[in-house]
């Protein structure tokens, strides 16, 4: 297939040094490491998330377990904040990590750290559950976050606002837009209907809300 051969070989953009070579990681041909032989105890000490994800993309189950141990507890807590059904939350946690396994090869440190990537995977699982009717529209688990803001702390240079405190600095309308769509996984249409506002108004509130949160949380956000 000469016509498929370009004059200069194409490289996937942003392919990092730890990332697998093409074709993308989908299994086939990748030799799984043997726990206890390839990875002695503590082999991943000092590995940051990007390094672990690169290893997961190479289908390293030990790296995956370490990544799970590092993040599952917080993801579980976040899911419980979005959903009161304990069984569903456990299902969603599994779905999050199966997606991490599947998509690890697509993660690139250049697009932000792994925390943001994990957030979108986690929140998108909640969206999927809502769309499939597994999570009730009327779920009120977001109410605490949306309606009872913590007062902003008096800030010195050494202090930074928590997200909950930063949410408290938004208007009620902005906070509702952020908590329902961005965190809670409701669609634009559902949220606009619930708040009885036009779609454009909802998007403006969401954009402004995120901009303000970003500013309140500082560069370390």
């Amino acid at each position: 297939m000469a016509e498929l051969t370009p004059s200069a070989p194409w490289q996937p953009p942003l392919l990092g040094p730890q990332a697998p070579a093409s074709p993308p990681p989908r299994g086939g041909g990748i030799v799984a490491p043997v726990p206890g032989r390839d990875h002695p105890s503590g082999a991943f000490d000092g590995f940051d998330d990007a390094m672990l994800l690169a290893a997961i993309a190479r289908r390293d189950r030990d790296a995956f377990r370490v990544f799970y141990q590092r993040h599952a507890g917080r993801i579980l807590a976040a899911l419980r904040q979005l959903c009161r059904d304990v069984t569903l939350v456990d299902d969603l946690l599994q779905e999050v990590f199966l997606t991490v396994w599947r998509k690890a090869g697509g993660y690139r440190p250049e697009r932000g750290d792994a925390g943001g990537w994990l957030f979108t995977i986690t929140r998108n699982k909640v969206i999927d559950a809502r769309r499939r009717g597994r999570l009730p529209i009327a779920d009120d688990s977001l109410a605490d976050l949306a309606a009872t803001p913590a007062p902003p702390a008096s800030r010195g240079r050494e202090l930074r606002l928590s997200l909950r405190q930063a949410l408290g600095t938004l208007t009620v309308e902005q906070r509702q837009a952020v908590t329902l769509t961005y965190l809670g996984g409701f669609t634009y249409d559902e949220t606009a209907s619930r708040l009885n506002v036009p779609l454009g108004t909802l998007k403006s509130r969401l954009r402004r809300g995120i901009e303000l949160l970003r500013a309140q949380l500082g560069d370390a956000a």
Partner: protein
């Protein structure tokens, strides 16, 4: 491969919608593909998801049941990992993050000829709810993609090579958004074959003899 940063970007609303989890599967592929090429949009997107990252970081750890990890491992053991796009060739120039967003289903994509044209295309996925299709296409250098009319919105991402149409010159990573009613005949630059991935709604209508063939074969 050019090292030039993209000059044509998706609307900011698309990045916001992606950060808020509001995009359909086809447009997620398009935006992830653009992000893989575009440092400035990656920076914007990182800022949009930063509050979510903080929200996750600030959660108080809750210990999962030990059986959850065992179930995850058991599911990994059971599931087959097959690349649904393997039949399109190993050189498919689609960034990994975009490729992993493609929702497989139905028949495996295959290359098809476009009537009376050297262009080839493959349907990667269809979305009946959005009335949208996601396709990858390749057009030889120096040739035109046949004149056609868009019945709905079209998003185009250049993967390799370049083309020109009345909206401008589009190179790798560039994102073109065409409104319903747009009619064009993209001219590929001389030299490299041009690869694009495109999401279009409601279909496209070819002009002239190709249009006649299109209408006849659609019956």
């Amino acid at each position: 491969m050019t090292s030039t940063a993209p000059r044509h970007h998706p609307p900011e609303d698309f990045l916001l919608a992606h950060a808020a989890g509001q995009l359909d599967a086809g447009r997620r592929v398009m935006i992830e593909g653009h992000l893989a090429f575009c440092p400035s949009c990656r920076e914007s997107f990182a800022q949009l998801i930063a509050p979510g990252r903080r929200w996750l970081e600030e959660q108080a750890v809750v210990a999962p049941k030990p059986s959850l990890w065992e179930e995850i491992e058991a599911r990994l053991d059971r599931q087959a990992e097959e690349d649904p796009l393997a039949g399109l060739g190993a050189e498919l120039p689609l960034p990994v993050a975009a490729r992993l967003e493609i929702e497989a289903g139905g028949r495996a994509p295959r290359w098809r000829p476009l009537p009376l044209s050297p262009a080839r295309f493959a349907v990667l996925s269809t979305d009946h709810r959005a009335e949208a299709a996601l396709v990858i296409a390749r057009i030889p250098g120096g040739r035109r993609f046949p004149r056609h009319l868009h019945l709905g919105w079209e998003d185009v991402l250049v993967l390799r090579g370049a083309f020109r149409d009345p909206a401008g010159h589009f190179q790798p990573g560039d994102y073109q958004l065409n409104a319903p009613g747009t009619e064009h005949e993209p001219q590929v630059d001389a030299g490299d074959q041009c690869w694009i991935v495109a999401r279009y709604e409601k279909g496209i209508r070819f002009r002239g003899l190709r249009g006649l063939i299109q209408r006849l074969t659609a019956r």
